[in-house]
Symmetry: D2
Subunit: 316 residues, 4 copies
């Protein structure tokens, strides 16, 4: 039986200005800190159930160490190890405890060079009693600080490599489903893929040139209501943080706001709305180049050809 990924787990971020990054993620975005060990801060949204969905530590170059995914079972980690071995892909194994809150894991690079981590075991940490929700199905009280998203949603990565190879790898080896894509003259330019009913757990975009062949474009946290995104815009504006949005994507139909962590340069997409895919035989939605503007922005502040700045987060 083929091993399966259950969900996006976490991103391990290195920041050149840890203090700034912590203010950004804890005070402005409003993530909670599960713990800090050896200078690494483990953060999550108020209703992320696993130990952390973002770790941040100081380093000389801002980059993503790896993007972590949780498998369906413990056996799936071994199953993926075998599959990757068969593909001739180098796999590093890490015993439980290498990363706090995470069990035995393996790491490897996509054809695009991005480093993925797979694991099954996670610590489902409770909140301290004064911060815990009165709801038994929620970890922390909501609305404690800043924007206060509910949960980690997806990652968006860019590549200058042959992107078809990576799409095939993500689908054939890792089991992702292509949900929507933009087709260019020479093939797919952008693909939104998921193992869950979300339209995407990961998007991969082809770029002609990048300062790094394996870029993390953004990580994304989810809020329940579009009004929460507009409140986020107020908060970011009052904190002098430039952002793109609000707007509504054509792809995924989600409401967006993009802001950059001023410490690491990591972009964060605040995300709400959108649709879920429950059909087991979903036909990927194709958007042509002519439709790309609509696929990017159904309405609102356009994302096309806009960048918050030119910082590039390498993710390998």
């Amino acid at each position: 039986m083929a091993p399966e990924i259950a969900k996006l787990g976490h991103v391990a971020l290195v920041s050149t200005d840890l203090e700034k990054s912590l203010v950004f993620f804890k005070e402005i975005i409003g993530l909670e800190e599960t713990t800090e060990i050896d200078g690494v801060h483990y953060l999550r949204a108020y209703s992320d159930f696993q130990h952390h969905t973002l770790s941040i530590e100081a380093g000389e170059n801002a980059h993503v160490k790896h993007i972590g995914w949780r498998t369906k079972t413990a056996d799936c980690v071994l199953g993926f190890k075998e599959l990757l071995d068969e593909q001739g892909i180098a796999v590093q194994e890490y015993p439980k405890g290498t990363t706090p809150g995470i069990g035995d894991s393996i790491r490897f690079q996509l054809p695009s060079g991005h480093t993925f981590e797979l694991y099954n075991e996670v610590e489902k940490s409770k909140a301290a009693s004064d911060k815990a929700s009165i709801l038994k199905n929620q970890v922390y009280k909501s609305w404690n600080k800043g924007i206060s998203p509910r949960r980690f949603d997806h990652v968006n990565i860019h590549t200058t490599t042959d992107v078809d190879e990576s799409y095939e790898f993500l689908m054939e080896v890792l089991g992702f489903n292509m949900r929507e894509y933009v087709r260019g003259d020479d093939g797919i330019l952008a693909g939104w893929m998921s193992v869950t009913p979300l339209v995407h757990d990961v998007a991969m975009i082809k770029k002609e040139t990048l300062p790094t062949p394996a870029r993390l474009h953004h990580i994304s946290y989810w809020l329940d209501d579009t009004q929460d995104i507009l409140r986020a815009a107020d908060i970011l504006k009052e904190n002098n943080l430039p952002f793109i949005g609000p707007g509504k994507h054509g792809v995924s139909q989600a409401i967006y706001l993009y802001v950059m962590d001023p410490g690491s340069g990591c972009r964060v997409e605040l995300f709400s709305g959108g649709y879920l895919i429950f059909e087991p035989d979903w036909e990927p939605v194709e958007w042509t180049l002519e439709e790309r503007a609509l696929s990017n922005t159904y309405w609102g502040d356009s994302v096309q050809d806009k960048e918050l700045n030119n910082i590039t987060i390498e993710a390998r």
Copy 2:
């Protein structure tokens, strides 16, 4: 390999006042009509991808003929047939075309007496060009009429039978996951179960006495934002339709509004917010009797001990 259900499909409703039901579902709730064949009206929300999620026809007794579920593959229908045969459960088979838009199907009763239908093949009907969304991932334009929900969400059924038998059947035979439940002195009184990351595709509640042992309590349609639920309250009030809510459930954390189709007596829950379960090893959340009020209503107009009226929709 065990057969699997992918998603809730549709409900086949019989109304004693078809005209009233059609005004309610089409003008007030704002469902779209895919087609009408032989007096049966096939309806769906603006972004339901399959042929219909609700059918309504006239009849002498208001009741639900069956609750339909879509399996992951065509083979799963056969697989479930075998499983049910093994259990000694009577299964009726219906060839493709028995219900417009739906392929080969089987029907059977839960231990509670509720009739379920399983099928895989569905017609993914397009909207007429003047009603079609400009978005390639959405069927109809949204906000065409009335409340305008996005998609079918879940069903809630009541039973006076030994409910444990049904929970076991739903989990062991049909593959549902228990997500949250209320435990009484003698066992589980209410269980929320799903095959998707939704907290529930189906809820089953134990009642001491009911006019029918197999009641449909409500069907539910989903809206993107809680503000849409408040707009729905305005619309229902102005149409002299009594309702319960708005409020926020503890279980599922969703925002709710309950209203009754005046034609059939079928309750409809308008639903938004809530959380998704992506953890593959989710521990069902237990609520005690003491916590039942909170599990019902986190805040808002309480659902406890309130009924819109005493009409009972039998679902067998």
Copy 3:
């Protein structure tokens, strides 16, 4: 030329548990503190332009010292003094500085016994630079803490006295316009009155019995969006503060949530939506006793016959 009141100014509250009141108003409601002088805390919402809209101090009996109103001009204060003298009503005069941020003022009792204060001069205090909005038309950054309302909205007072006398006084002497009222068998039972286009700056309700003949029922702060009221419900629930609502009033059409300051027993209504009256010849809207339920609650958690508790804030 008749003196005129421009707007509701502030309420001077005495609490039996100042610390609890400050946590409630500053951390949960999210008011800002302009200053603290001699143990009196001067608070306001993020976009209240005058020095304070609420003052709180410790005292042995929780009560409201007075309800303050700002006149159109400085001459209006003198004008009202003359008018009140003519009516044979006792007037106390207070020089500028008696209350920080407020100029020369007069105080007197309504026929109902409630103490009103009139003044024109106010200090329009700026926010400290780290808390100031980047908007030149807003005082503080919004969303700094807790619920974060925009501005002070209205007061609601109860009386056991002959209420017609007070309505007449409010309209004939103070210049309020009756906007909506409930008529009982023996006359008006509840009146919503304003000098602004708001439906009410003050509501006065007749009660048969009260522990004090001159009760403050609630003060109210305004939020921009109904979604903000629902967010407030989450915050209050997570802080174990009981509340009534959310719901939508028939009178005023506003969305409401009622919560009580656990320090003083003062109720606070969180308020959004509603309508404005710009017609110069507005005919007061009459609601009969039969329509009272609708006038109280258009939909949602009903306010009728509900009390947060039996604490009574005297306002004389």
Copy 4:
């Protein structure tokens, strides 16, 4: 005693494609039609209390015949007539019934050339019983069709003339208060003025060149919640109507969306949020040229240097 304007009343619009304009204003924007007399359609929002706030008729050139204002009393119309005579301004008098629903009126041109109409008497038309709200303080049921705004809000007019002359006229003769303005190198370039606590009932903007010296830039209708503006964006997009926004203005702090009536070229701003001015001694807020971008757009899809097209509605 100086005559006073109470509120903005209506705009009389001439369209080159009446049918298109009626579809736009009635089906898309969702205004109600009070009546149609002699080919002129009288429209209003669901809670506009006077007979109409917009009239539309067919004509060879799209233009605004006049912008109507309601005075506080009938005497004020005479008072303004005298004031205007004293200023040497030509005044036309129209007897009651010239415009359906409106009493005796006068018309004249601002120094900028824009035609204003003043009247006091209005017919407060009821809705037909099947369209009437169950609320006694609301005219029509809300959410009947399309976007469904609550009420008429403001007008925005442009001029190439000496704008200071018009500002002075609006303030000194007509009694408007300057609330916010943008100061350029040679004086005020844009002013937001009101007789009500709204930040503006009218905005007048100086332009160097215009196809007409007296342009109507837009009329504006108000919605209760920002979510309603986002729903409006969905509706406009699905109807292939280009728009600017959503965004949040610095001036007024209101949420905006600009769309153009494809029949007449008249722009409509959909408006929510914002703040009210109750202070009787409000100091106009000054924005410099450097701050103009912020004054235009606090966040969102920028209005700066964007036009829906180059159609110009003359308003004289």
